[in-house]
């Protein structure tokens, strides 16, 4: 096979060739290029539905790639500097779960920070691994969890020398980065594998001015949300692995839960987005950085808001900062982040990524225009003019050290009972409670419910956070272990 160049997009090109062949479909999907579902064609357009086709020889098969998908994987691996890349169609969630299922068997210990995405703890429920939480430092002023410091990891390894892997979320949703290179060195020195949830870091691979990427730092596996900063369709993602990981085994793990009818819309979007970033990523992300820096300066000029950046770097828990992130602390306005988030949407028709207790995050990407940034900044100026109030009584977000009593898997499947939330203090939770977004659990299965946690849940509800994860959608009732 001749070596392909990054100017090519093998899946997209195969779809084009296939279209020109005008093959008569007697296979699934049953809408048959949209002819059987006119409303769908009207909604999505003819071009789009005609690409919604099944795996077949000319188009390869994601479960066992041998031709165009294999080529697209090779090109992606090259573009990301990985030993191998897997195209994922079940979101970064499936990439994260595949990473954990690859390295952790039942009872294995995984070192991780608590401010991880729910998909990671879900993977613990699936695998039966034991979480060893490393306390991410919290910035008191901002009320956000920070990165994983090497010292804390060292302590965790000393306490749990039998841990098989460490998982780092890098960057965090807010843009905080850990010292990945040192973490890899320390972990590998102790025979521990390194997994990185790099959902918010696709752009690190295509810039010299941004924090180091997981593959460049020598991590073993990384889950990269191509659909976030990379520009591909929602739900499409990459799983990257380093040279020490067995690609064939990873494929088997992926195939345990991955669909056998993968969408070519998603696959083609990964393929052409990879090509775009390989060819033009550097300039594109330089533009994104410039736009984010501009917005940050303008927001800080308004007063009372704090749009933070590299000045936070402390050499440890904030080793680096992703300047494409526009994270803004709102506490001095006297409003919780979630309140600003709601006002921006309801009154100004501006949808931002999320608001938590003290911060908002506006996602700046390759699709943004300067004029829209002007709107965001002006709306924030107006929110301040119209709503600014005394900030007393605003709770700042604090890290609540989880007390893990049993593994997430044991707790999830154990006999349980439902109790009104106020009566659950001291019991062991068997389900998740989280604010969404950002989707970081307040409680996970197997953890003790404390007074502090209950207070936090009540406050978040009062401020309008959307709480999710539990069986009871209103979070009036929680499932706890029976008889414990």
């Amino acid at each position: 096979m001749t070596k392909l160049s990054q100017t090519e997009a093998p899946i997209y090109e195969a779809l084009e060739r296939f279209r020109q062949m005008r093959v008569v479909p007697f296979d699934v999907p049953g809408h048959k290029r949209g002819r059987g579902n006119h409303e769908l064609v009207e909604l999505l357009g003819e071009q789009c539905v005609s690409l919604d086709i099944n795996s077949m020889k000319p188009l390869d098969n994601l479960c066992h790639p041998v031709s165009v998908i294999a080529e697209a994987e090779d090109l992606a691996a090259e573009a990301f500097g990985a030993a191998h890349a897997f195209l994922m169609v079940g979101g970064t969630t499936s990439a994260v779960q595949s990473m954990i299922l690859t390295v952790c068997k039942r009872g294995d210990k995984l070192i991780l920070p608590r401010n991880v995405h729910r998909s990671i703890i879900n993977a613990l429920v699936l695998s039966g691994a034991k979480p060893v939480y490393v306390n991410p430092d919290v910035d008191q002023r901002l009320g956000i969890s920070l990165g994983m410091s090497v010292t804390q990891l060292e302590q965790a390894i000393i306490a749990h020398p039998d841990a098989v892997a460490v998982l780092v979320n890098n960057p965090t949703y807010y843009g905080i980065c850990s010292d990945l290179s040192s973490i890899v060195k320390l972990a590998h020195g102790n025979g521990i594998e390194v997994l990185v949830d790099e959902a918010h870091g696709t752009h690190f691979y295509f810039s010299d001015d941004l924090p180091i990427s997981a593959m460049a730092a020598g991590a073993d596996m990384s889950a990269v949300s191509m659909h976030k900063s990379g520009g591909s369709l929602t739900q499409s993602s990459y799983l990257l692995i380093g040279p020490a990981v067995n690609a064939g085994y990873v494929r088997q793990i992926i195939n345990l839960t991955q669909t056998t009818s993968s969408s070519y819309l998603l696959l083609a979007s990964l393929d052409i987005s990879r090509r775009n970033l390989a060819l033009r990523g550097k300039e594109e992300f330089a533009r994104v950085v410039a736009l984010a820096e501009y917005a940050r300066a303008e927001i800080n000029d308004i007063g009372s808001y704090y749009a933070y950046s590299r000045e936070l770097i402390n050499g440890g828990s904030i080793f680096d900062y992703d300047v494409t992130k526009l994270s803004v602390n709102t506490i001095d306005i006297g409003l919780a982040g979630i309140e600003v988030y709601d006002i921006l949407r309801d009154e100004y028709n501006i949808q931002i990524e999320f608001g938590d207790i003290g911060n908002i995050l506006a996602y700046i990407s390759i699709g943004d225009r300067k004029q829209d940034v002007e709107r965001l900044v002006s709306a924030l100026a107006e929110v301040r003019r119209r709503y600014q109030r005394d900030k007393t009584g605003l709770l700042s977000q604090e890290y609540i050290d989880p007390q893990v009593v049993i593994t997430p898997q044991e707790a999830f499947y154990a006999p349980k009972e439902s109790l009104p939330i106020d009566e659950t203090e001291g019991r062991i939770c068997s389900e998740f409670v989280m604010c969404y977004p950002p989707g970081i659990p307040i409680l996970a299965p197997g953890e003790k419910i404390t007074k502090q946690i209950l207070e936090y849940i009540r406050y978040a509800k009062m401020k309008g956070c959307s709480l999710t994860g539990s069986e009871d959608p209103s979070i009036e009732v929680l499932n706890v272990l029976r008889g414990v």
């Binding site: 303008e298 900044v377 002006s378 709306a379 100026a381 107006e382």
Partner: protein, 286 residues
């Protein structure tokens, strides 16, 4: 040979004007700019293919944007025009000796350059010593202004393209902040006739009424704009556009106009029933 310019007013309606020749075509950082010469309308300017002004009917728009607030506010000294790089509103404003300072925030320097060269009829007063041109995004320009102006005239393009930020709640809020306690804001308010335009019109009205205690709409007939029926917004902190009209004072100034009169002023605020109704529907929500 026949050369025709066409603009779609809706996906199903278009206005076509026979063109003698094209005088200018260029792409700025923000939009495509064209100037044509025609028998019927004289020269006209388009931005991204939409007619902004023609020499034949621009007086209607520019007079109505300017003289309506000027006949209500007793003492405008500092005025701001957002957009309006063609100079039409500026030309009208410079007719008032009492005005000491006229600022313009125009996003696109090429518009000014092209109008100075090809449309002196409107651009003729852009070099008046009282005029200061800031080439800046309107939203950005407004953000830092507080209690600065007596009058703000929002001479925007459309609620899509480079001008869309000028139809937003944050922009009108910034205008409120930039005005003195008796300040007035006048804005281009789209047309009530075609469905899409009417929606934009309702939305703009909604965003203005939440920001200003007084907000009334007035109208004019502009042949080259979609449907020919055009609306303007009059928003103020203090003055009512009809009750506070001082016709005698304005007429004493001796400004000669072709469309605006103080009698028409009052009538322009009397809207067709269907327009009143859809504006009231917006107001009821608040």
């Amino acid at each position: 040979m026949e050369l025709w310019f066409s603009e779609r007013h809706t996906p199903n309606v278009k206005l076509s004007i026979r063109v003698e020749r094209q005088l200018f075509n260029g792409q700025s950082d923000f939009q495509r700019i064209d100037v044509f010469e025609t028998k019927e309308f004289g020269r006209f300017l388009t931005l991204d293919g939409y007619i902004m002004l023609t020499e034949k009917d621009e007086f209607i728009y520019h007079e109505m944007m300017t003289h309506v607030p000027m006949a209500v506010h007793p003492s405008v000294e500092r005025a701001l025009v957002i957009g309006g790089g063609d100079g039409g509103v500026i030309r009208e404003l410079t007719r008032y000796d009492s005005i000491k300072q006229i600022d313009i925030a125009e996003i696109d320097p090429m518009v000014v350059e092209v109008c100075k060269k090809y449309l002196p009829q409107t651009a003729c007063k852009l070099d008046d010593p009282r005029v200061n041109i800031y080439f800046e995004d309107g939203l950005k320009f407004m953000r830092s202004k507080q209690d600065t102006y007596d009058l703000i005239i929002v001479d925007s393009t459309d609620p899509f393209g480079p001008g869309e930020g000028l139809f937003t709640r944050e922009f009108y809020g910034n205008c409120y902040k930039a005005l003195h306690d008796d300040g007035i804001m006048v804005n281009q308010h789209e047309s009530p006739f075609y469905t899409e335009d009417a929606k934009a019109c309702q939305l703009a009205h909604k965003h203005i009424i939440v920001n200003f205690p007084i907000s009334r709409i007035y109208q004019a007939h502009i042949p080259t704009y979609p449907s020919g029926h055009w609306l303007f917004g009059f928003a103020s902190k203090n003055y009512h556009p009809v009750h506070d009209l001082d016709a005698a004072a304005w007429n004493k100034r001796g400004i000669k106009t072709r469309y605006y009169t103080t009698r028409l002023h009052t009538g322009a605020f009397a809207l067709p029933a269907y327009v009143e109704e859809f504006l009231e529907n917006v107001e009821k929500e608040y």
